[in-house]
Symmetry: C2
Subunit: 211 residues, 2 copies
């Protein structure tokens, strides 16, 4: 990349993109998404757990009921995933901003009904939420599978927007004596809290070792 | 609170609520929201910066254009704010869950056009994003104010959903030899990164001292 391209990136830090790999990276880095759909003219935006299986976005709602039923019926939806990566402190409020990575996926979600695909999709979800954990869990029962709605949305129509880097003040303001820069933000894990009803003597599993 | 109420909370950890103070606490604890609206039958969900001024939710988009114009025209919208507070690891995938706090606010956003109110709203936003910073910034120019869209949505029609606490496995599964519990998650600030074009000798301001 040339210095010129670098400058351009800094001057236009807010960019739209159709980069599939970038979209996937943003999706993979998140554990929840916001799903928008419309019922009787009223928009709803609901948080759901998600994972990615190749070019499919898998959705799993803890509040299945109305949401999942309507989405599964093929309503148009927009699934947005956003990482707030930092506060961008410019020399003025007007030029202050945020660093973020965001992807919107448009389409209609379809329920995953094939039993093998559904088991696989839920496994992908479990493994996405905490890599390494799937291996120690029992298989879901048929009753549990039937009580679970898993939706699939193709990652075909999407739009990525990101901003990164330092503030972009006009040149005549960079010399004012005000601190400017970025406060990075990230979602971090705290110390795992064992369930109070866990029997004594269960070691902390390897997949939690780094926490 | 009695022990009985505690149990009930644990058995029904996922609760809907119309508690205004809880809604405000969730709003105040976040820096971005997801705004859903519909154009030509297609739902959109867009991240925006927000702040709260009493019983009003203020919205400020970095990508103003189409979004702000359409929202300002009075389109019905749904603004959702979600904190992912933890991964809830049960003994099975089916009972695993997430701890979260989420609020949906429904209504139609109106542009804040009164100059004094707009200045005040933007100040509230600046102060919300980083308490203490407003005092050192110059006032916005008239041109900047005109180039900024600030929207206001009353916090009247809203719904709060939260889940907290340990996993809720069926009693006959709590004794299996699998680690169960919660991995807390939170958005945390990293070390502030000074802008590369900042003049030498500018001290780190007090509002960044704790970072």
């Amino acid at each position: 990349m040339t210095g010129k391209a670098d400058t351009r990136l800094r001057r236009l830090p807010e960019q739209g993109s159709k980069d599939f790999n970038l979209a996937c990276a943003i999706i993979d880095d998140a554990r929840i998404c916001h799903v928008g759909f419309v019922l009787d003219g009223q928009p709803y935006v609901v948080p759901m757990a998600h994972a990615r299986d190749g070019d499919e976005l898998l959705l799993h709602g803890s509040v299945a009921s109305r949401l999942a039923k309507n989405l599964a019926a093929g309503l148009p939806c927009c699934v947005t995933i956003t990482h707030l990566d930092g506060l961008v402190l410019a020399r003025s409020a007007f030029h202050s901003s945020m660093n973020y990575r965001s992807v919107m996926v448009f389409g209609s979600a379809a329920p995953v009904t094939d039993p093998d695909k559904k088991v696989r999709g839920l496994d992908v979800l479990t493994e996405h939420l905490l890599p390494g954990r799937l291996a120690e869990l029992r298989a879901s029962t048929r009753k549990e599978l039937n009580a679970t709605t898993l939706l699939s949305l193709p990652i075909e129509r999407f739009s990525v927007k990101t901003r990164k880097g330092p503030p972009d003040d006009p040149k005549n303001e960079t010399q004012v004596p005000i601190w400017a820069g970025v406060i990075p933000l990230s979602l971090r894990a705290g110390k795992p809290e064992a369930a109070p009803d866990m029997p004594a003597g269960i070691a902390r599993p390897r997949y939690l070792k780094s926490m």
